[in-house]
Assembly symmetry: D2
Homo-oligomer: 147 residues x 4
């Protein structure tokens, strides 16, 4: 079995992603997200808009678009196997998402200095149109994701 | 039957809330929220943290706390029966929420000038501790919620 | 001479404000602000819009409205004589400010839990119209403002 | 004399920048900024931290770092010679700036869809360290910067 001890950063990030995702009921079961990639300082997640995601206007609830971006943020900023938490975030909604739309969120580290990082998440639909942009500030805390 | 025509602002807001909530699958069915009040420029919603809300740290996914606040924002800023949309929002997370916690979100209009408003949502747990603070900027668009 | 040792919280806050303001070239000399009040968890500052504040549209530069709110935030969150720094902030601009307008910013603590606080600043003009709303998150660090 | 009529987008952006900057007392005279580039959807500005910029901690007032980024945002989002205004912005401060530091802010359009755009500004010091990251949302309004 692979252990983090002798892993490359890429292997470690992938394994951190697998362990986190398996335990994440909210993202996996409730929202129906998939984790497409977890790399050092970067993650990609996907979610198909289903009837359960629709609000009273019959579009995807903005909170669930936020949730997709927030999950992607968590995977990207924990990818070094050092526990990190969100210390603030903001989102801009650019266009609505409808039932059947395939939303792909890519999260990329912009800067990491000491314990603090800035990550940008961009949510696009199947036409590559930008649906939302999310910026998160992370703070590393004590502990690791996997032993 | 009551019609908006002869309603007070309080009655109109309550009725707008009922109609919006009935149609809002995401908030009502998927997240399990309750709408406790919808008044002119103000709304109160509640959500009990259940296993479906938990992330990999076994705390409520921050995205779902955002979703609770975002829904409350929608009810508060549509309460005049003029369609309004979110034009940006930010959230600060103050403390985690655990399974069984009862989260109550109160949303209050701070200013409404022309078509643009600012609303502050505050999410508290059953001990009255602040869990998150959310600020939303709304823009009224054409149309009404109920005819 | 008064020492913080035997001061009430109100006296201590006032004195912290005086010492900080005297040393704050940017707010006092460059921008021309006045400190009207510094109380525990609260501060009030004022700035008259002068030609030096005007941008190419001949209205007050939004950055200087931000600066007025950011200074007020600093006085409010340092008022306990425990060093505090801004850990993130957001601003919404509601209406422009013109030459001669008297801008008054009131900053009030919304929550303080452990080392982290949320403060809301509201900038109004001489007609009591809201010009901007600013929200800041503070973190207390080691040290005191005055010995 | 060059007229916008027969200009390339690059020439038009440069000329819009010159006209806006000449009229911008706040950025040019009060803050001492320089406009290094104004291109379609992009701008670069610079400011040397001087004694007039220092707050009570003897570091550059965060409001003036915001002001540098906000000005850069204005040049970038007006560079098509269509009037645009800020519709919200957020900033994250990463490290302090001291007297003598040379701050360079680069602003780049991330997305422009219809009348709404998102622009990211990054402020770096002379060591290329990130001092602050600013995100702005713009809305185009009626009119042009130059006739």
């Amino acid at each position: 079995m692979d252990t983090p001890m002798n892993s490359t950063p890429e292997e470690l990030a992938r394994r951190v992603g697998e362990v986190m995702f398996a335990a994440d009921t909210a993202s996996r079961s409730t929202m129906g997200m998939q984790l497409l990639a977890c790399e050092p300082g970067r993650a990609v997640m996907q979610m198909v808009v289903q009837p359960l995601h629709l609000n009273g206007h019959k579009i995807c609830h903005g909170g669930f678009i936020f949730t997709l971006a927030d999950s992607t943020f968590a995977f990207a900023c924990n990818s070094y196997n050092k526990n990190a938490v969100a210390a603030g975030c903001s989102i801009e909604f650019l266009r609505p998402a409808h039932e059947g739309d395939v939303l792909t969120c890519t999260g990329v580290e912009q800067t990491l200095s000491g314990r603090h990082g800035i990550y940008d998440m961009c949510v696009r639909n199947q036409h590559n149109d930008v649906v939302a942009m999310f910026r998160g500030k992370s703070a590393q805390i004590a502990g690791t994701v996997i032993p």
